[in-house]
């Protein structure tokens, strides 16, 4: 059989100019202002006065071709066949006719069964990792946990009267493919990897040794063959080796738990970007709906809504009131595990006599 003919290689990025909504193409680089018409609806105004409406809808990120075709039908009907997605997996329907905004919202909510919202000072969609559905490393699922949490935060997605926007993320292992966010849910391992010496033989041993950030993996002969061993006292259960070598299983269905992190921010506004910090840990990995996680997230959201000043993101609110008051306000216990013990730990200590009462 003749070798199959290969399609062109190195096509590069799709030509976005073909995909821009006509009003975007006409006004590219010539936008003057915008307004939030209602939660979930922006109006952008070009220099020459043309107006473009954006209706934002929450999506589960994972979509069947059936669903995408339905979404396309709606975009064909109202949006001249153009739409876009946001960094946080929302779908944005674009249109120029103001009279079509309400019928479009109706079609999104009642035909597509997707909520409109996620703009301004709301809780936008969760950016998340792949989980049990398709990753090779996860200790938990993402799509299900995201669905369960967004069910609980549904009203905050559809309205926009929070102190500031609030962003969520989740990660299914401690490699943390997820992003820093105001609130983040991350799986936590509690044991060193359990070596499977048969499977380890398939791995590139120098790479397995090299990837450990604390030099806890060293070459060793096992069962007469070249292999590795784990120095358990050094290991901090990060799972970096597990990504390199499936023979070093880091997960444990009986002991893996979930932790919640708060105060992350990517925007350079005001206080600048910030890392999220540990709020609480030891929540059970409890599919299918992880109710303990939703409860903890809800508690943080409520404390922030209650205490934050206008425009304060979660991290900025905590910065102002102090961590002691954060733990008081949320009722989470501050433990010795909240004190950093890794690199840069000292940069997180209070190196002054300043202390809240």
């Amino acid at each position: 059989m003749a070798a199959p003919e290969l399609a062109p290689r190195d096509n590069g990025a799709p030509d976005y100019k073909k995909y821009l909504h006509p009003a975007m193409a006409r006004n590219y680089g010539r936008w003057r202002d915008h307004a939030l018409v209602r939660p979930g609806v922006y109006k952008h105004i070009a220099e020459d006065g043309e107006e473009l409406y954006t209706v934002r809808a929450g999506s589960p990120r994972m979509l069947s071709v059936n669903k995408i075709r339905e979404i396309c039908d709606v975009a064909d009907r109202f949006c001249e066949g153009h739409l876009r997605f946001t960094t946080r997996n929302n779908i944005e329907f674009l249109l120029t006719n103001a009279d079509d905004v309400e019928p479009l919202i109706d079609a999104i909510e009642n035909q597509l069964k997707m909520p409109v919202g996620g703009t301004g000072h709301s809780i936008s969609n969760i950016i998340h990792t792949q989980g049990w559905l398709h990753c090779n490393l996860p200790g938990t699922d993402a799509s299900g946990a995201v669905k369960a949490i967004m069910d609980v935060l549904f009203e905050e997605f559809r309205t926009d009267n929070l102190p500031q926007r609030l962003k969520l993320s989740s990660s299914c292992c401690q490699i943390n493919c997820g992003a820093h966010a105001d609130i983040s849910v991350i799986l936590q391992h509690h044991h060193p990897p359990k070596p499977d010496y048969e499977r380890i033989t398939q791995c590139e041993l120098p790479k397995v040794v090299g990837i450990c950030p604390v030099a806890a993996i060293r070459p060793a002969k096992k069962k007469g063959r070249d292999s590795v061993e784990v120095v358990e006292e050094k290991c901090m259960y990060c799972g970096a080796c597990h990504g390199q070598c499936p023979g070093l299983e880091i997960r444990d269905a009986d002991t893996d738990t979930l932790a919640i992190w708060v105060g992350g921010k990517s925007a350079n506004t005001r206080s600048g970007p910030s890392f999220m910090r540990l709020a609480t840990f030891g929540l059970p990995n409890n599919p299918p709906r992880w109710p303990e996680v939703s409860d903890a997230v809800r508690r943080i959201v409520d404390a922030w809504k209650d205490g934050a000043q206008p425009f304060e993101r979660v991290g900025e609110w905590i910065e102002r009131i102090g961590w002691k008051n954060f733990f008081d306000a949320t009722g989470f216990e501050f433990t010795k595990y909240h004190i950093d013990s890794y690199r840069f730990a000292r940069t997180t200590f209070n190196t002054s006599s300043q202390a809240r009462r």
């Binding site: 976005y16 680089g29 925007a267």
Partner: protein, 420 residues
């Protein structure tokens, strides 16, 4: 369908107001039996709190990345997902689509894959889930025949992503979509063929709001900025104060400026632009009254990454301001990136992201290596420790030896692309 597995746990994710992927995938399973088995395996994961995928490598001819191969550990039980791979498709910059383009992806997914698309992955790419060892090649060829491209896994450049930029935002300070396409196309070989110590990510945001979420998720965030004065429309300031009150302007615009460079009194708003750090807060709040200046460009940062493996790292400032309007500006950026990659690829350890590399060799050595001068804006404060090795006082230099930089700087920098 008779062989659709029972999924009592996943069924509980069909309740509640947020759209349910379970409901959507169950419907797809009526025409795609593999999706039913996918849900069957997922149900088992939910029951046992255990994962059943093993990851390996599968490459299309001419590519070293772009496919995430997954084999089910329980393939005898779920044979139709025994091989269930993901193709990473490069997304249109700004995530803009025509419905024709989306339908084209749907058709390819339906024909060669499981009919599941994720829009989009954490890197920004389109994920096409569910092809086997044979159909992955067919899916890849079908995609490429239609002008799509794949890539971005292993020790390679990752698919870029950017904010909506000038396509729909008055705040964007450069052409994020245009530059994303240019960098993708220019570095397409680095995206397809893993030749780096580890991954390298660009994310592009038109302003400091960073809607591309770049600061700790990319090795090189490219953030739009300006260096002249913020443009103030005092009539709009007055109108804003009428609606929200003068106290609101004092408290929440002037009062929340990180450098206190805004003063507001007698209904007039003034900005000490020499002290502005271009954080965007005041412009966000009073977007009708305030706009970025006209002398626009970008700030380049370097070294951001998530936890694996030494812990999270912020990017730090590398170039405070660079024009990004013309082809020459873009070529200058490409030349700088080439210098960074050459130095990093030459000296980094296996699996060492550029931020980790900088931490190990020092920012000073890194700047030397890529030929950039130190700038006070690169640090939040100068060093506090006094243990400094001044190279001017080294024995060799005291005896007239010239300053030697790492040899990568002396190499001829690869210029504009296209001439080999």
């Amino acid at each position: 369908m008779s062989d659709f597995p029972d999924t009592p746990l996943l069924d509980q994710l069909e309740d509640g107001p947020w759209p349910s992927f379970v409901t959507d995938l169950k419907r797809l399973a009526q025409t795609k039996a593999a999706v039913g088995q996918l849900l069957g395996q997922l149900e088992k994961s939910y029951g046992n709190r255990w994962n059943y995928w093993t990851g390996t490598v599968l490459n299309l001819k001419g590519y070293g990345g772009g496919v995430l191969a997954r084999y089910s550990d329980i393939g005898e039980e779920f044979p139709q997902v025994a091989q269930f791979h993901t193709v990473r498709v490069i997304e249109p910059p700004g995530y803009v689509y025509s419905t024709d383009a989306l339908r084209e992806l749907c058709d390819i997914s339906e024909e060669h894959s499981s009919g599941i698309l994720q829009l989009h992955g954490m890197t920004g790419d389109i994920l096409m889930l569910g092809s086997d060892n044979e159909s992955t090649h067919a899916a890849g060829e079908a995609l490429m025949n239609k002008g799509w491209d794949i890539g971005g896994s292993g020790g390679a450049m990752r698919t870029l992503s950017c904010c909506i930029g000038p396509a729909r935002c008055e705040m964007s300070c450069y052409d994020t979509l245009g530059l994303t396409k240019f960098l993708t196309d220019t570095f397409i070989s680095e995206l397809h063929r893993p030749e780096f110590p580890y991954k390298f990510k660009f994310k592009l945001s038109g302003c400091a709001n960073d809607c591309a979420n770049s600061m700790m998720r990319s090795d090189m965030p490219i953030i739009g900025t300006w260096r002249d004065n913020i443009k103030i429309d005092q009539d709009e300031v007055t109108r804003f104060a009428k609606v929200h009150g003068e106290q609101f302007v004092s408290d929440n615009v002037a009062g929340r400026c990180p450098t206190r460079c805004i003063s507001y009194g007698g209904g007039v708003l003034e900005i000490d632009d020499d002290n502005c750090v271009h954080c965007m807060h005041c412009i966000n709040v009073m977007h009708s009254a305030l706009r970025p200046g006209d002398d626009r460009g970008v700030t380049l940062l370097i070294g951001g990454k998530r936890s694996l493996k030494i812990g999270d790292m912020f990017s730090s400032l590398l170039v405070p301001f660079m024009k990004m309007n013309t082809q020459e500006d873009w070529d200058e950026l490409v030349a700088l990136v080439r210098r960074i990659w050459e130095f990093w690829t030459e000296y980094a350890l296996e699996h060492e992201r550029v931020g980790e590399f900088i931490d190990r060799i020092s920012m000073t050595s890194f700047l030397d290596g890529i030929g950039l001068e130190a700038d006070p804006r690169m640090v939040s404060e100068p060093r506090a420790n006094s243990y400094i090795k001044f190279e001017e006082y080294s024995t060799g230099r005291m005896h007239g030896e010239p300053h030697k930089k790492p040899n990568v700087v002396d190499r001829e920098v690869i210029g504009p692309e296209g001439d080999g």
